[in-house]
């Protein structure tokens, strides 16, 4: 018997069921806030930066299964990376790390990338 696994990969469902890094960071070094209610996805991504390295990341997301899983994944991927490395993380990379997303859900990975970029920009602007 098939089930929701046929819509999402096992990896997506795993991150959906047990999302990593849920929550806010107190006094974050950068906050990204993207998405809009009309599309049904809103992501907030918080980063803590030390010596140009992202030492912690957390998120809060209102959205579908893919939105939650990509949020979880991108926060995992970014931890320990330098700002420059983090800026290189593309939405495709997030989707691939989740063993793919249905075409209709690729916009969620775009949102995750944007949330990360926006948090880094916020950090860069503040640290100028």
């Amino acid at each position: 018997m098939r089930d929701v696994w046929s819509l999402y990969s096992e990896k997506v469902m795993e991150h959906f069921k047990n999302p990593r890094n849920v929550g806010e960071i107190e006094n974050p070094d950068g906050i990204g806030h993207v998405g809009n209610p009309v599309c049904g996805d809103i992501m907030e991504l918080y980063i803590k930066v030390n010596d140009s390295t992202i030492v912690d990341a957390k998120f809060k997301t209102f959205g579908c299964g893919a939105a939650i899983a990509t949020s979880s994944m991108v926060t995992e991927m970014v931890k320990g990376k330098s700002i420059d490395e983090a800026l290189e993380i593309s939405n495709r990379a997030v989707a691939e790390a989740l063993d793919g997303l249905p075409p209709i859900k690729m916009h969620c990975s775009v949102l995750a990338e944007e949330a990360l970029k926006s948090a880094i920009e916020d950090y860069l602007a503040k640290s100028k």
Binding site: D3, V4, L7, M13, F16, K17, P19, V22, G23, H33, P37, V38, C39, G40, D41, I42, M43, E44, F59, K60, T61, F62, G63, C64, G65, A66, A67, I68, I104, K105, H107
Partner: protein
């Protein structure tokens, strides 16, 4: 894990007795009803029996029932058929803003082909004001189409009132009764409708078959062009097993409808009450009373529908949402927005639709599990703190 199906408005399982009734028509009585030999005539007899059963259920005559491939075809047929046949009289069509896509998209097609469509608003409960219909009528109006009950939030429209207005104005009136037929009584004469759509798979019949009631004397052209089947109103070799299945489903519905509607209304109200009590910041969508017996639709603030659905599915509970995160448009339900809900609320909607195999146990389980899911999702919602 026992799965709990609460998506009967999306589709119902085919009743085992319906399947049993269909079976002989695949392999034994399989003739083409257009053939004059015995195989063909046997098949024809089966179709005519089903036709009478369907007609009886809605107070129509057999010859006024045309079988289709489902509710969508019935809607397409009614709207395009009347529009193209009555162009010389006018090009104006009146419909509502919470119609099923089968009506909305057909109207859009007709607009591109020169017709003018007025789309009426609804109130916070989803009700159309018959007064609005009356005001919208012009001397070019040829058709009014208003659904009998909404598939998403279950509101039952004042069809008889609108029917009287249409009749007085001499304008054809169509209603999409896909969610109603077989669930609560429908009488085409009481409702004063000229055309009425239904679909078998919403009443424990098979998918891929439906019917359009066409009042005698209604001027419309075919939608499906071709052979002479169905009194030349709908071409294509008849789906005999499907039609027999619809007939059987209608027969069963007729017997069980009264009691079943009462039973479901009770369960429905239990579920609504329980959800509103156990989850704060939750509201009921649709009318509390003028409502299909099996429909529960709530908006849960701060969380998105698909993520609730997936979590429910992981617990074996199947429901649906007006969030369109998984549709290609990304826009939330046009129905919920028409009620005045914010996009967040529309995205945070859940529909539980009850049916023949729903009991207290299933309702209890939803009431036990959903609050936990909502709590989990709210903990990660960026919307919550801002409220």
């Amino acid at each position: 894990m026992k799965r709990i199906y609460l998506d009967y408005s999306a589709t119902t399982p085919t009743h085992p007795e319906v399947v049993k009734a269909m079976l002989p028509y695949f392999t034994d009585v399989f003739g083409n009803p257009s053939s004059i030999h015995s195989y063909g005539q046997e098949a024809k007899g089966a179709i005519e029996e089903a036709r009478v059963k369907v007609a009886d259920l809605i107070g129509a005559r057999g010859e006024e029932i045309i079988f289709t491939s489902g509710g969508t075809e019935a809607d397409n047929f009614a709207l395009k058929g009347v529009a193209f046949a009555n162009e010389s009289k006018g090009n104006h069509i009146i419909t509502g803003s919470i119609e099923h896509h089968a009506v909305i998209e057909t109207c859009k097609f007709l607009e591109r082909r020169g017709f003018l469509v007025t789309c009426l608003p609804v109130d916070e409960y989803g009700l159309i004001d018959p007064g609005d219909v009356k005001k919208a009528i012009t001397d070019k109006t040829i058709l009014i189409s208003v659904m009998q009950a909404n598939n998403e939030m279950g509101t039952i429209e004042p069809i008889a009132e609108i029917g009287r207005i249409a009749r007085d104005a001499g304008i054809y009136f169509h209603t999409d009764a896909v969610q109603v037929v077989g669930h609560i009584p429908v009488d085409v004469n009481e409702l004063e409708v000229d055309l009425l759509s239904m679909s078998a798979h919403k009443l424990y019949g098979p998918k891929g078959v439906g019917a359009l009631y066409i009042r005698k004397g209604t001027k419309l052209i075919p939608f499906m062009h071709g052979g002479d089947q169905e009194r030349r109103r709908r071409a294509s070799t008849e789906n005999i097993p499907g039609i027999v299945g619809l007939g059987k489903a209608v027969e069963l519905a007729r017997q069980e409808m009264g009691e079943e509607a009462e039973r479901l209304t009770y369960l429905r109200d239990q579920l609504i009450k329980g959800l509103l009590e156990r989850i704060d910041h939750t509201c009921l969508n649709g009318h509390p009373l003028k409502r299909l017996p099996n429909n529960v639709n709530v908006s849960v603030d701060f969380v998105e529908g698909e993520s609730m659905l997936l979590n429910l599915d992981l617990e074996g509970i199947c429901a649906s949402t007006g969030s369109a995160c998984s549709s290609s448009s990304l826009e939330p339900s046009h129905v919920l927005l028409a009620l005045g809900l914010s996009p967040e609320q529309a995205h945070g909607s859940l529909r539980f639709s009850l049916g023949k195999w729903t009991g207290e146990e299933e309702i209890e389980r939803v009431l036990e599990i959903l609050p936990r899911i909502v709590a989990k999702l709210r903990a990660m919602s960026p919307l919550l703190k801002s409220h």
